[in-house]
């Protein structure tokens, strides 16, 4: 008998009597202003929210914070004149020297400021993790209150990889001192389109 069959047989023999799944009704807060809550939480964990209505505002932000030597990549055609768009089929290791990535997120969660991003938006899975700084463009009307609402929306959506991303990479492994920029992006800016 294989290990698989032995393990499964022992589990079948030892598992307790069937106990039904609970419902998920009544879980999750509902916020009057999800945008305000989202902003408060994200700032609390070291991120930043900038509301914008015109793409030129993002371009000015980039020009203000990065010089011409910086490598900036994006998946948004609207930003073609300030960022590379032709990296998506390259070996992921070639993104090693990226300073700033600007991608889109599907939805944001007010209770914890997590942003849902699937592979279809990342293009390369590592694109949100490897740059020095990260920005995510989010539609203000895509914000939901809770994780339960978020998963209700996600449903059985198909993807190879997806992530909930909340704030910059961080660690407190040295004496509980918070340091931003452990291995992933050192900073996260969310451009909220209103």
């Amino acid at each position: 008998m294989s290990s698989r069959d032995r393990i499964l047989a022992k589990i079948a023999q030892n598992q307790p009597e069937f106990s039904a799944l609970p419902g998920l009704e009544g879980l999750g807060n509902v916020y009057e202003s999800p945008a305000q809550q989202f902003k408060t939480i994200l700032e609390g964990i070291g991120g930043k929210v900038i509301e914008f209505s015109d793409w030129s505002e993002i371009k000015s932000f980039v020009k203000e914070h990065f010089d011409s030597n910086s490598r900036i990549i994006s998946t948004l055609p609207e930003l073609a004149d300030i960022a590379e768009l032709d990296w998506v089929y390259n070996d992921p290791h070639t993104l090693e020297n990226v300073d700033f990535t600007i991608i889109r997120g599907h939805l944001g969660v007010a209770e914890n400021s997590a942003i849902w991003i699937t592979e279809s938006l990342l293009k390369q899975r590592v694109s949100a993790f490897i740059p020095q700084y990260l920005a995510i463009v989010l539609e203000a009307n895509s914000l939901v209150s809770s994780m339960h609402e978020a998963y209700a929306q996600i449903g059985m959506e198909e993807y190879g990889f997806a992530t909930f991303l909340a704030g910059p990479s961080k660690t407190a492994d040295i004496e509980q001192s918070l340091v931003l920029g452990a291995h992933g992006a050192r900073g996260l800016t969310v451009f909220l389109k209103v």
Binding site: L8, I11, A152, A166
Partner: protein, 458 residues
Amino acid sequence: MESKVLEHSKASEVFNQDKERVGWHDETLWFVRSKRDKAAHNIPDWELLRSTASSIKHNVLSNMHDYLVEFEKNALANGVHIHWAADAEEHNKIVHGIIAKHGVTRMVKSKSMLTEECHLNDYLAKNGVEVIDTDLGERIVQLRDEPPSHIVLPAIHLKKEDVGETFHIHLGTEKGNKDPQYLTEAARHHLRETFLTRKIALTGVNFAIAQTGEFVVCTNEGNADMGAHLADVHIACMGFEKLIPRREHLGVFLRLLARSATGQPITTYSSHFKKPREGQEMHIVIVDNGRSTQLGREDFRNSLKCIRCGACMNTCPVYRRSGGHSYHNAVAGPIGSILAPNLDMRKNADLPFASTLCGSCSNVCPVKIDIHDQLYKWRQVIVKEGYAATSKKLGMGAMTFTLSNPAVYQTGGKVGRWFMRNIPFVVNNGLNPWFKNREMPEPPKESFREWYLNNKKS
């Protein structure tokens, strides 16, 4: 570095020699516990969330067989290779087999307590494979040739001076520089090089979804993602109890995990791995290693609900004052003490006694495991099976004899009170465990029985 394993109480004595450091350790963990409280109190439905999570996990335990079969079927359909390991040895062999097949001798690894439980790093080192741990805390303890002392905060027993010295020796940082920002930056550079050059990445699993065959890995640092997305092969190792039924249940567990662990609203990255990236190979190793036995122990099976948040450790007065290494088990603290006897009852017979049974662990547990009740029940099993320490057996025997013989009991009390009054050093010395860190009480003039006999007529 295999040395003779000290019992928890003996190891705690060693840990307690540096009083200042113990005080600091205690306060640091209590600080994390306080952050957890704040985060929990910000969520009005916290208690409903806990009971829902506990019920979901109960359903998982009761339907484990079918969920595992469902998970396997879906993961295979996603193009993932599935392996089953009955024990630690088989797990290690499977992982090494995958590495050897690719002709590689170096691997990058993100946090996985399961691989600690299986002693994978030692096994791979013996087989000529170099493993680099990438969680900052794990990297620190790995460089120091120590095991992690906490499942979420692996280097919580170290001060920044210690880390500065370790990095100076191994990573060439400035001598004496102990600035966390500077040291983290040094680790970032050192490990970035590792991420970019390793062909195989191993990660743990926080949750595996039966319905979709995907698994979720949570980190704050981004090390699991950096490793997995840059490697040709991704190996994910999981105990079978990591299963949850449906994707929507992640809403429950992701709300609980980071709040319970560190007081954060959620970890920075909660990554859902469903299919290998194009050209990549993905493996999942499903491990039993005693879990199916634990599933059959009615009193202890709830321990398999654990989501490894560490809240029970941060709150435990014994853990905070004895340190994770005193538990000589991959998982320390209260939860480790109810998991460990199932792995090896003889070796871990001391752990269920490393508790005051105050119940704080059960009160903070996000999946409502009755941890302190299980500690109490393990004590009975251990004594019954004959694994209790000799001193404990002798003590209990003497107690049984005394309490069942009124004459012995009365004389014993008298003799004790006389000694405490007249020659106190007989009890006030290091040989009496009750004297350690305590003053002995003033002996009463008479026993209750004597008082009662003298006063009952009036």
